[in-house]
């Protein structure tokens, strides 16, 4: 079975679920959700055992699809996050349905499948056309998902903001693609890399195109100064969608960014130094602009949004550090590693948020007061999640940051390193503000919070993943190792 079959099947499953809902409107949403989860899980299993070489793809796909380790990793990543988002949707369903039309959630189960397929295609893209179409598939789906709970003013506002800004970024992206194409005469990453390594290529046009293209992609990954949509949209969107955006969409954006940068920063690239400097500046700025305003947030959801911005900053900085000879992970590998660690901690955070909402509580820090008393387990798990987000050692988050910082130090990017350190230091403040709230004893008259065993299992699994990745990252590193090797070969 080829990977493409799985991807297509996933999209198809999305359509089937829509049809099921259409023809059997009274179907229990839990059934629908579980079907989606089961389907995705099946896809994941099949994906693991599928053939992982390009030759196994259908012929018409072969020129457009690459199945290197990075692509495979991100495909798996997309499947995992989709499963988790679907689960999160089920958890959040009790309150989400209050804001959806007729209390229906069917599209919340089917669209993620299509998004997942889109993200998997993005991961394999070898040219800008593929990037564009799959990116748009994802983006348009997200327009719908963000505004899905449209009876909530927040969700709708987030939808409008995401729509306008997203469309603007699409325009910028296409304009950038046009100029890159104009400068290099090709839209495939390999071709672009080849052209950029050729000194005869027009440098100004290439720089101009690359700059605009990176602006467009920067929007997707929330790089400063294109991050301004993130807090509003993340806060307004339904929590599962926020999780999906902050993990899935961002990861997909970073995959594409990795691919594009692999081309732009190819050896002897005529625009290499400029783009690298841009990345350093943007990365530092992003880390800071994510961290500094986060200190004043009262809503945990918005806080997580800002945190996600600053994480994007670290990821950009990781991308700016190209070859690290003394590292088994290339920049792409570090990014992948970071994202892999970022997944469980962010999802766990959002899961906690969703559970709070589902139990009739708010999303503000003050609503977290006394959580440790009401549900010690949840408080513990959330603490793990936030500790990891803050980058505390022995959690997954620390290793990711460590690799980034090591890379920066290895290349001597001290300015960027100091910005990252300041951002991380600020991070301690706002993450622990929330943790502290959970453990305060004041205002604990609220009733105990009950979790189903399945929820506990999923949340526990995520926490364990954070801790295991934090102390035993070897398997993950191994998984990502060939990725760096192939890229090193290509570079």
């Amino acid at each position: 079975m080829s990977v493409f079959t799985i991807e297509a099947g996933l999209a198809f499953l999305g359509l089937v679920l829509l049809l099921v809902e259409a023809f059997k409107p009274d179907i229990c949403r839990r059934t629908l959700g579980l079907m989606a989860i089961a389907g995705t899980a099946l896809a994941l299993v099949l994906f693991v055992f599928a053939k992982h070489d390009t030759a196994s793809l259908p012929g018409f796909m072969q020129p457009w699809h690459q199945l290197d380790t990075l692509a495979l990793f991100y495909k798996g990543f997309a499947l995992v996050i989709t499963i988790l988002v679907l689960w999160l949707t089920l958890e959040c369903a009790p309150y989400l349905t209050r804001f959806t039309v007729d209390g229906k959630l069917a599209e919340m189960f089917s669209l993620p499948l299509i998004v997942c397929a889109g993200m998997m295609w993005m991961a394999s893209a070898r040219d800008l056309v593929t990037v564009f179409v799959s990116l748009e598939l994802v983006t348009v789906s997200f327009y719908v998902l963000v505004a899905f709970a449209r009876k909530s003013a927040f969700s709708l506002e987030a939808g409008v903001k995401y729509l306008i800004l997203g469309a603007l970024s699409t325009g910028v992206l296409v304009y950038g693609i046009a100029w890159i194409y104009g400068a290099t005469g090709t839209m495939s990453f390999d071709g672009i890399a080849k052209a950029l390594a050729n000194p005869a290529t027009n440098k100004t046009a290439a720089l101009f195109g690359a700059a605009i293209l990176l602006c467009g992609l920067g929007f997707k990954v929330a790089a400063a100064p294109f991050h301004m949509w993130v807090p509003d949209v993340y806060q307004g969107a339904p929590t599962p969608v926020t999780a999906f955006l902050s993990v899935g969409s961002k990861a997909a954006g970073f995959v594409v960014l990795t691919r594009a940068l692999d081309a732009f920063l190819v050896e002897n690239s005529i625009i290499g130094t400029e783009i690298q400097s841009l990345l350093l500046v943007a990365g530092s700025l992003t880390a800071l602009l994510g961290s500094l305003p986060a200190m004043f947030q009262t809503s945990v959801k918005r806080l997580l949004a800002y945190s996600s911005i600053s994480h994007a900053g670290y990821l950009l900085l990781a991308l700016a550090c190209r070859e690290s000879p003394r590292f088994d992970l290339s920049s792409g590998g570090v990014v992948a590693f970071y994202l892999a660690t970022y997944l469980p901690m962010t999802v766990l955070g959002f899961l906690g948020l969703g559970l709070m909402r589902a139990n009739g509580l708010g999303e503000d820090i003050k609503d977290f007061a006394g959580l440790a008393k009401r549900n010690p387990l949840l408080a513990l798990l959330m603490t793990v999640s936030f500790a990891s987000l803050a980058g505390l050692p022995l959690t997954a988050g620390f290793l990711g940051k460590l690799f980034v910082f090591l890379g920066l130090a290895d290349h001597g990017y001290w300015g960027a390193l100091s910005c990252a350190i300041i951002a991380a230091a600020t991070g301690f403040y706002y993450y622990f503000k929330t943790v502290l709230a959970m453990f305060t004893t004041e205002g604990t008259d609220a009733p105990a919070l009950k979790l189903s065993s399945a929820t506990r299992a999923v949340a526990g699994l995520l926490a364990v993943a954070i801790l295991v990745l934090g102390v035993y990252p070897k398997p993950l590193q191994k998984l990502l190792k060939p990725a760096s090797a192939t890229m090193a070969a290509r570079n």
Partner: protein
């Protein structure tokens, strides 16, 4: 192509574009946009992109604009007359537009690409017929040999020969769009 015609078309495109940006009545804006797109389509024609020009008119000036107008009518949106203009936004918008234009000027004048014109880079249709080789359909080579540019055929060939996957993705995207529209604009069946 005569310069005059180009400038005329550019004027139409940009002028109507300007009216979109400045028009106070949404309907005026929509119609100006349609006009601007027609000008744009003509520019596409001048670039030998007949198929693109056609779908620009069909899809944009046709379908999309109709959709816009339809929504404007449906919502009965009043002109912004009564509303105060957001002066800082206007100033900053103009400022950014000017800056961006200047940058593009600088970039365009700074690149060697700018020198290419239809005159110095003419299409070589008959040679192309030979170079494309057997991969292409006979009807394309025949047209090329005859000295006409089989634009639609070539695009179609490229799309269906190379970009089959992308077409399917775009198809899926349109489907998602449809679903989205339904989800987002459906009226609530049962009042809560």
């Amino acid at each position: 192509m005569p310069s005059l015609l180009f400038y005329l078309l550019a004027l139409i495109t940009l002028g109507f574009g300007f009216m979109v940006v400045t028009g106070r009545n949404p309907v005026t804006c929509a119609l100006s946009l349609a006009a601007s797109f027609v000008g744009l389509a003509a520019l596409f024609l001048s670039l030998d992109a007949y198929f693109i020009a056609t779908i620009q008119i069909l899809v944009y000036a046709g379908a999309v604009m109709v959709l816009f107008l339809f929504i404007i009518m449906l919502l009965d949106i009043k002109a912004e007359e009564g509303k105060k203009l957001n002066l800082p936004a206007i100033v900053s918008g103009v400022l950014l537009a000017v800056l961006l234009t200047l940058q593009i000027f600088a970039v365009v004048s700074g690149t060697g690409l700018a020198g290419k014109s239809p005159e110095n880079t003419p299409l070589a249709l008959t040679e192309a017929a030979g170079k494309i080789g057997k991969a292409a359909l006979p009807t394309i080579t025949n047209d090329l040999k005859a000295g006409t540019l089989p634009d639609a055929k070539l695009i179609g060939f490229t799309l269906f020969d190379q970009y089959g996957f992308h077409l399917q993705v775009v198809g899926l995207l349109l489907l998602v769009g449809t679903i989205g529209v339904v989800v987002l604009s459906k009226r609530e069946r049962s009042a809560p």
